[in-house]
């Protein structure tokens, strides 16, 4: 597979290490009420869609960026890739 790195263009997927569902960037607050239930869901439960999937890839043999790649799990077609840091910053209300 080829991953369209937002900064470096198409790179062979072999340079990357896969983690999984992009929701892993939405880590619950460990000090909040009900944290245990929130973490059980965060750590273990997955949508596991047959179709479009947002997922985390680490450019291990590259620039060490974590990417969020949008990919179809049935066709393997890649619909886009973003720097995970930018996505996380935007989600946290910071600048992207």
């Amino acid at each position: 597979m080829l991953i369209p790195h937002p900064l470096l263009g198409l790179r062979d997927a072999q340079e990357f290490t896969y983690l999984g569902d992009a929701r892993l960037i939405d880590r619950p607050d460990g000090m909040a009420e009900g944290a245990e239930a929130a973490f059980a869901e965060y750590v273990y439960l997955r949508d596991n869609p047959a179709g479009v999937h947002r997922e985390l890839w680490f450019h291990e043999q590259g620039d060490r960026s974590w990417l969020i790649v949008t990919r179809d799990t049935v066709t393997h077609e890649i619909l886009g890739a973003e720097l995970a840091r930018n996505v996380a910053l935007a989600a946290n209300g910071g600048e992207a």
Binding site: A13, Y44, R46
Partner: protein, 416 residues
């Protein structure tokens, strides 16, 4: 019809006119007591044991394609019970014991061949872990032997003992392990179930569950609605999408695992051998092909096909372990969709919907579990209580902290 050598001779002499269909092609009835979703190995075994052992009637197996089209038809055929953890080992040893009488029981030669499974170790720490595991196996009533390097060499002199990057230090041998003809297992169960009145319905895809008041009523299918008192789902790689129809998110991801076979060769490899310093396991089929595999590709996939890096990685592992296979040619590589669970162990449990049961999370070890999985799932469906050896395979073990993590890699499905 009873199969036997006598029957084969008789039919040969009379032009094979007497052979009957292995199973019927029934039309679905309007309702059943039990519906098993998924006509793969686990689903067929479940139906078989429900009918045979638990004496249940009015059972249907619904298969979206053809019987045995899932992972039962695309695995590397290994059977073994060499697990370490108390949550697993008794279950897999129960499965092994079922394998050992299976062919005579269901009157079908599934070519179960106990030629041994040898796991190699390459470090002292691996050997320590093997000793722990081997002892766990013996304590659960299975067989195990810990071999040193000389013992391995005596069994498999063709391994690389000369200039390996990771020298072989020994191995954990289970002599009762081996292989079985995967399709034969599916067909044996299918025929056995059919003979006991189970309706095996092919080309019948489940498209929804009808749930009323928190209770299952039946399933919507590509061939219409079918009512059921209890529904058991055993759809492996499709678990995510099927259970989503019942509103469930699961501790499961679907991943692709590739498997490989070479062109036919005269016998070279006695049993099953697994590399401990790379991703490679191999056996040789009765037909002569080296059947081997390695790691999953590592990304979520429903595509039943993988990519080149893993093919190369597996070949490197094979070449590092047994360089004598180099001039053999790869004939075919295929992919199956694995229901990788969050701790590498399966789930056999009821769900939040009354009457809806789940059998899933087999990762890439489901084949060897086929008999026990079917038996335990049938037990759960018939008695509403888990089978003794499958008590740990609960769905709530993740939230509650009772995971069964044989590899110790945590909630990383692509690493199990």
């Amino acid at each position: 019809m009873h199969f036997s050598g006598f029957r084969v001779i008789k039919e040969a002499l009379t032009g094979h006119k007497g052979w009957k269909p292995l199973w019927r092609n029934p039309e679905p009835q309007s309702s059943y007591d039990y519906i098993i979703v998924g006509g793969g190995g686990h689903g067929l075994a479940t139906a078989y044991y429900l009918a045979r052992t638990f004496g249940q009637a009015r059972i249907a197996v619904l298969e979206k394609g053809w019987l045995g089209q899932g992972n039962i038809g695309r695995n590397t055929t290994i059977i073994r019970s060499n697990y370490m953890l108390p949550g697993n080992e008794p279950f897999y040893e129960f499965s092994m014991k079922l394998w050992e009488g299976l062919e005579q029981e269901f009157n079908f030669n599934a070519m179960i061949s106990q030629r041994g499974v040898l796991n190699l170790c390459h470090t002292d720490a691996q050997r320590d872990a093997f000793r722990r595991r081997g002892n766990a196996m013996l304590l659960a009533g299975a067989d195990a032997e810990l071999l040193d390097a000389a013992g391995v060499r005596a069994m498999a002199p063709f391994l690389n003992f000369d200039n390996a990057r990771f020298p072989i230090k020994g191995g954990l041998l289970q002599r009762r392990g081996g292989t079985a003809r995967h399709d034969g297992v599916a067909w044996g169960y299918a025929r056995g179930a059919d003979m006991r009145g189970v309706d095996l319905i092919q080309n019948c895809e489940v498209t929804g569950f009808r749930i009323e008041g928190g209770r299952i009523q039946g399933v919507e299918t590509s061939r219409g609605y079918i009512g059921a008192k209890k529904v058991g789902v055993a759809v492996a790689g499709s678990t995510g999408r099927v259970m989503a129809m019942a509103g469930m998110r699961l501790p499961i991801e679907s991943h692709v695992l590739q498997a490989f076979v070479t062109e036919g060769l005269k016998p070279v490899i006695p049993g099953v051998i697994t590399f401990g310093a790379g991703h490679f396991y191999v056996s040789q089929s009765d037909k002569g092909g080296l059947v081997f595999g390695g790691d999953i590709d590592g990304y979520n996939s429903y595509a039943q096909r993988g990519n080149l890096p893993v093919i190369e990685d597996v070949a490197e592992g094979g070449m590092a372990l047994m360089p004598m296979i180099g001039r053999a040619r790869l004939l075919r590589v295929w992919g199956g969709i694995m229901d990788m669970s969050m701790d590498g162990s399966p789930i056999i449990d009821h769900t939040h919907v009354e009457g809806l049961y789940l059998n899933a999370g087999w990762c890439y070890g489901g084949f060897k579990a086929t008999p026990a999985s079917g038996y335990a799932f049938a037990h759960l469906l018939a008695r509403d209580a888990p089978h003794d050896t499958a008590k740990g395979y609960r769905l709530d073990r993740f939230a509650r902290g009772y995971v069964i993590d044989e590899k110790g890699v945590g909630a990383a499905p692509n690493l199990h």
